[in-house]
Every structure is written in structure tokens, then in C-alpha cells.
């Protein structure tokens, strides 16, 4: 029995279906991040778990109890909203203890828990202020405090950091991670930001058009995306996709494509046995920018490396690394290189392509086949 389970949840609003047969099982202490493009139904799913919205079909169970008809306040959950949703007429202290008051927890106990939370989040000096007198980061903390003070079994976050500036966002992200490690609580966290998704989660669910495209550990999602959507959604810069055809070159399976000059290029495929059946078919070869680099960079020993001379069209400096744009199979591809060996646009560079890290998608179905 999992700690929180979402089984077969669908949701339609008047117009159309927003969620389709969503299934998630969470163990206690997991940190699940929901990512996906705007409008894919992340908030709707979170609201259904919270009980703020009812599902058209399916069940939500928390700690083994089906809670479909249980009021949000009795589900033992707490939620942090994107806008923080602090009550404007109440002080910070009032905001944090409102839920306890509604649950008829005696005043001394409320005071004790308030103090505990205020110390934990370092907001003790702000307790008498009104929300409008706080900065964005402070409001965020208060919103967290309001969730924490309830001591719920599940925390729900709906894009809690998206209203903060970049610097603060990184700081708060680290704090949330620390808090999570300290509390060992179960969390579901919605975000647009894939760095947040990859750094915070123990598992990621990638959603699109109301379905879960893939759910898995961040490393799996990153290394082995289930389909083209996940491959291009996660990772920045996005995974390179090289148009190619599976050919048999003297018993060895290769992906046949072209280089920047249009010349034919054959790249030996790693997992050949899975691809036998696709001989002659069109595929997309997925290569992360870090698997395409300067040939002088060291790569894992024993890796299958293809070295290709190719022309550079664009060079972008990012600090530690540079992103070098070249072209394979008629599409732009980005390579990640150490900054000290920056080529210039127009140069021909020897690129090293790590075929062990390359994944293969069926060009027709968009599914990963190897």
C-alpha cells in the first residue's frame, strides 16, 4: 500500500478533458515534481489531490484511506500557492496560526508551534507585520510556515518560487531541499523550472495534454526519456535530435546522416540488437549537448566515441562552458565544450560524439526504441 495513490484520475471541465487516467503511487518521504507545459493540467491535478476540485473519475487515497469525499482540511495536507495566498488582513502570526485556530487547537499550543516555525524559518521578527509589508522572499517563507505548522502528511506546492527573482529562487530552492531533508515529509511540487525539477525531486512526472508522459527518477528521465516530448522538455539546452536512417554497414548497425557540409556520415549505434527490426527506417538520434564535445576532452574510458569533423556556425559563452552550434542531418546541434578551447564560427572542429549516451527514437511514433 503506497502512502499516497492517485488511481485512474480523469477530469473534465465543461469544455474538454483536462486530465486523462492519471496514476501515481508515492511512498512516504518521496519528493515528486510535476512538470509540463502551461495548461497541461498540473494545477488541476494538485487541486484534485488537495480536494479543492473533484475528479470526474478515479480515486485519491492518502495513507490507505480513500479521500474523494473528504474535505480539504481533513485530508491532512497543506498547500503552498503560487501567489502565496496570504490573508491580507491578518498579521504574519495570524496567517500561520489561522489553520490551527480553525482546527480548535488551544492557544498555548498554537503559540508554541508558531514560535517553533518562526525559528525554523527565521521569520520571528516579522510576526506582527501584515503581508503587504513583506518582501517576496519573506512572503514565500510565511506561506511555507503556514503549511509547515499544520504538520501535514503531504505537502503540495504549486509553483511556489515562480514569483521570485532568479537569485532568490536559487536560495529558496536550496532551503526547500534542506527543509525536505530535515522533515522527511512527502511532497508534491509543481514547477515550470526544470532545474528545480531535477535538483529537488526523488521522482519526476512529466505531463503533457493531461497525461503523464513519463514518471521516474530524475536521472532516468534525463538519460532515458520515454519519448520525444520528454526528451525535448527536460534539459537545457535541449537534447539534440539528429535525423538519420538505420543502415547495416558490414554487419554493424549504423545511423546514417549528414554532416554540416552535406556529406554522408555513419555513426555506429550502441544497442544494435534492439534496432535490428528498424533496419532501413527513419529514426531520430538523441544526443545531449554534453555527449557531443571537443575531441580533446576526456570521456569515460571504453565509451564508444565517434569523432567527426564538422563546421561551427555559432559559439555561445555561458561562463564555465561554451555552447558550440554545428549541424547534423540538416538540423542545428549544440555541443558543450570547455570554455578555454573556444572555436570561432566557420572553423572546422573535431567533435567527439559519445554513442553510449545517445538514445534512439522512432521518427514516426516519437517513442524511444533504444
Amino acid at each position: 500500500m503506497s502512502f499516497l495513490s492517485v488511481s485512474g484520475v480523469s477530469k473534465s471541465f465543461g469544455g474538454g478533458q483536462v486530465l486523462r487516467d492519471i496514476n501515481i503511487d508515492l511512498e512516504q518521504g518521496e519528493f515528486l515534481v510535476l512538470v509540463g507545459p502551461s495548461g497541461c493540467g498540473k494545477s488541476t491535478l494538485l487541486n484534485i489531490i488537495a480536494g479543492l476540485e473533484s475528479a470526474t473519475a478515479g480515486d485519491i487515497a492518502i495513507e490507505g484511506r480513500v479521500v474523494n469525499d473528504v474535505h480539504p482540511s481533513k485530508r491532512n495536507i497543506a498547500m503552498v500557492f503560487q501567489s502565496y495566498a496570504l490573508y491580507p488582513n491578518m498579521s504574519v502570526a495570524g496567517n500561520i496560526t489561522f489553520g490551527l485556530e480553525m482546527h480548535k487547537i488551544p492557544k498555548p499550543e498554537r503559540e508554541r508551534r508558531l514560535k517553533e516555525i518562526a525559528d525554523l524559518l527565521q521569520i520571528a521578527p516579522l510576526l506582527n507585520r501584515k503581508p503587504r509589508q513583506l518582501s517576496g522572499g519573506q512572503r514565500q517563507r510565511v506561506a511555507m510556515g503556514r503549511a509547515l505548522v499544520r504538520q501535514p502528511s503531504v505537502f503540495l506546492f504549486d509553483e511556489p518560487l515562480s514569483n521570485l527573482d532568479a537569485k532568490l529562487r536559487v536560495d529558496m530552492r536550496v532551503e526547500i531541499k534542506k527543509l525536505y531533508q530535515k522533515l522527511g515529509a512527502t511532497m508534491i511540487y509543481v514547477t515550470h523550472d526544470q532545474v528545480e525539477a531535477l535538483t529537488l525531486s526523488t521522482r519526476i512526472a512529466v505531463m503533457n495534454h493531461g497525461v503523464i508522459e513519463q514518471i521516474g527518477a530524475p536521472q532516468d528521465i534525463y538519460d532515458a526519456p520515454a519519448n520525444l516530448f520528454v526528451a525535448t522538455f527536460i534539459g537545457s539546452p535541449a537534447m539534440n535530435l539528429i535525423d538519420a536512417t538505420v543502415v547495416d554497414a558490414g554487419g554493424k548497425l549504423c545511423a546514417e546522416t549528414t554532416d554540416a557540409g552535406g556529406a554522408c556520415l555513419r555513426l555506429a549505434l550502441a544497442s544494435a540488437d534492439k534496432l535490428r527490426g528498424h533496419l532501413g527506417r527513419r529514426i531520430l538520434l538523441g544526443v545531449r549537448p554534453e555527449a557531443l564535445t571537443d575531441s580533446r576532452s576526456t570521456m569515460a574510458a571504453g565509451a564508444r566515441i565517434e569523432t567527426v569533423n564538422n563546421r561551427v556556425s555559432l559559439v555561445e559563452m555561458t561562463g564555465a562552458d561554451i555552447f558550440v552550434t554545428t549541424s547534423f542531418g540538416g538540423r542545428d546541434c549544440v555541443a558543450r565544450m570547455p570554455a578555454d578551447r573556444a572555436p570561432r564560427p566557420g572553423d572546422s572542429v573535431a567533435f567527439a560524439l559519445n554513442m553510449d549516451k545517445a538514445v534512439v527514437f522512432d521518427a514516426d511514433t516519437s517513442e524511444r526504441i533504444a
Binding site: S73, A78, A85, Y87, F98, M102, R146
Partner: protein, 292 residues
């Protein structure tokens, strides 16, 4: 940097003087009738009938005010306007409070507890704002008769409540439309119920629109004549009807100074409400149109 430079529009000294002069003239124009009423309400009657209405009194007297308030013959007894003033108060206070409170509840439900056909319900309520007074007279008389409230202050309260509810609902609905739904959701998760959310979360943030609703309802109900004349009895006539009776009474000479004093007495409460809460009125009317 001077203040003028901060202004997006530069106005010359001469233009400014012209603007203020015009404004002053308009203000005078509007204040003149009130000024004349005030001046003549502190004159003995002989000075009015015998002389210039515009002149200041030669003999100052508060007798007309005393007459209007507690001595003038209005009904059968020489009671002055006093009992009718209290009739009005007893009608206005509950009617304003109830219609504002119910309007707020309606707005809350129509925006935060959406139900099937809620826009239709709102549309119908909105429609009620455009129904002229005259049309409701006869059905209302019937209802008051059936319920046994005809000719009483509670009856008038009911009439004004029903008639005003469309307006107050409109105000509060538009105001709460801009109120973040996430706050309501947060309160739901915190365990607040339907009325808990209303009382603890929405109402404390409704100051400006409550002021709008109260002023609007107060002026309308206090100044109403038609409903008062149609549905009230001698012992429940509101101030406006009594004032009319005072002015129209055919016996004896017309005591203009008393009439003026009575008219001012009748308009004082609305004046007071505007002076106390007027600036919130404008603020409340524009609130919601601008986010934040």
C-alpha cells in the same frame, strides 16, 4: 526639481486661475439654493413674506427649526418632524445593513461558490436594477397585504431590501470577482467553513465596497418618497413623506422658514454620510477596476 516638472501636463498660471474661477462659479451655483434655504430658515416669517429672499436676516432666530422639529402640525397632532425622523431611522438602518450584508453574501456565492446557472441568476438580479419603481408598486402592495406588513416600518424595510438587493449584489459581485480565489482555497485547506471564510477573509477586505453600498443604499432609501407614500401609515411615514405633508398642509399661512428648516433637517443625514464617507465612495467605485 520643482513639483510642476513632475506633472505630465503643464498648466500655465493664467489657465490655472481660469480653471479655479470656473470651478468656484460652479460650486457657488450649486451651493446657492442651499445657502438661500439656510438663510431663510433662520429668519422670522415676516422678513420672508415682506422682503428680499436673498438678504441676510435682520433678526436671527432658531424658532423655525424648533417648529419644524417638534411643533409643526403634520398629522393629527402638532408633533413636528421628529417622530417621522425616527421612523426613517428605524427604516433606513435595518434596510441598509441587511441589503449590504445580503448583497455581500450574494457576491461571495456568485464568485467563489459557483453553481450551475449562476450567471443566469446574476443576470436576473442585475435586471432587477432596471425595473422602475412604479412597476413593483402593485405586486409589492399585494405581498405586503398578504404578509400583514402593510403600513408598517418592517414592511418598508422589506420593500427597500428587495429593491436594493440587485444593486448591492452587483457591487459586491464585481468587487469579489477581483478577489483572489487562491485565498479562498487556502482558507478551505486551513479548515474555515462557508461563513468562516466570508467573515474572516472576505469581509475584512471589503471596506471600500461596503462604504459604496452603504452610501448608495442610505441615500436611496432615506430620500425615497414613492414607497414611503404608498406603503406607510400615519405612524410609519418616513421623513420625506412627512416633509411633503408639512409643506402641503393647506391650513393657515405658508411658513416658508419652517419649510426650509424642515427640508434641511430631512437632507442632513445624507449630507453627513457623504461628508464622513464620501472619499471612500470614490475609492470603492474605482477599486477592482485596477488590480492591486
Amino acid at each position: 526639481m520643482n513639483a510642476a516638472a513632475d506633472h505630465p501636463i503643464h498648466t500655465g498660471r493664467f489657465a490655472l486661475a481660469l480653471i479655479y474661477l470656473t470651478l468656484l462659479l460652479f460650486a457657488l451655483f450649486y451651493l446657492l439654493p442651499f445657502g438661500i434655504m439656510l438663510v431663510n430658515s433662520v429668519k422670522p416669517l415676516t422678513e420672508i413674506t415682506g422682503g428680499n429672499m436673498l438678504a441676510l436676516p435682520t433678526v436671527w432666530t432658531l424658532q423655525p427649526w424648533r417648529e419644524a422639529w417638534s411643533l409643526a402640525q403634520i398629522g393629527v397632532q402638532p408633533t413636528g418632524l421628529k417622530p417621522y425622523f425616527w421612523n426613517s431611522v428605524k427604516m433606513v438602518v435595518p434596510a441598509v445593513l441587511l441589503s449590504t450584508l445580503l448583497g455581500a453574501l450574494n457576491g461571495y456565492v456568485l464568485t467563489k461558490w459557483r453553481f450551475k446557472y449562476d450567471t443566469l441568476v446574476f443576470g436576473l438580479m442585475l435586471f432587477s436594477c432596471f425595473i422602475p419603481f412604479q412597476i413593483v408598486l402593485i405586486p409589492m402592495a399585494r405581498i405586503l397585504g398578504v404578509t400583514g406588513l402593510a403600513g408598517s416600518t418592517p414592511g418598508l424595510v422589506l420593500v427597500h431590501l428587495v429593491y436594493g438587493l440587485g444593486f448591492t449584489t452587483l457591487y459586491f459581485r464585481n468587487y469579489y470577482q477581483a478577489f483572489p480565489t487562491e485565498l479562498v482555497r487556502a482558507a478551505q485547506i486551513d479548515g474555515a467553513g462557508f461563513f468562516g471564510i466570508f467573515r474572516r477573509i472576505l469581509l475584512p477586505s471589503s471596506g471600500p465596497i461596503i462604504v459604496v453600498s452603504v452610501i448608495w443604499q442610505f441615500t436611496n432609501i432615506w430620500n425615497d418618497f414613492l414607497f414611503g407614500a404608498s406603503f406607510a401609515d400615519y405612524d410609519s411615514f418616513p421623513m420625506t413623506v412627512a416633509l411633503n405633508n408639512l409643506v402641503q398642509s393647506s391650513t393657515g399661512v405658508k411658513e416658508y422658514n419652517v419649510h426650509f428648516a424642515g427640508a434641511i433637517l430631512a437632507s442632513l443625514p445624507t449630507l453627513l454620510v457623504y461628508i464622513v464617507a464620501g472619499r471612500y465612495f470614490v475609492r470603492g467605485l474605482i477599486a477592482g477596476s485596477v488590480k492591486g
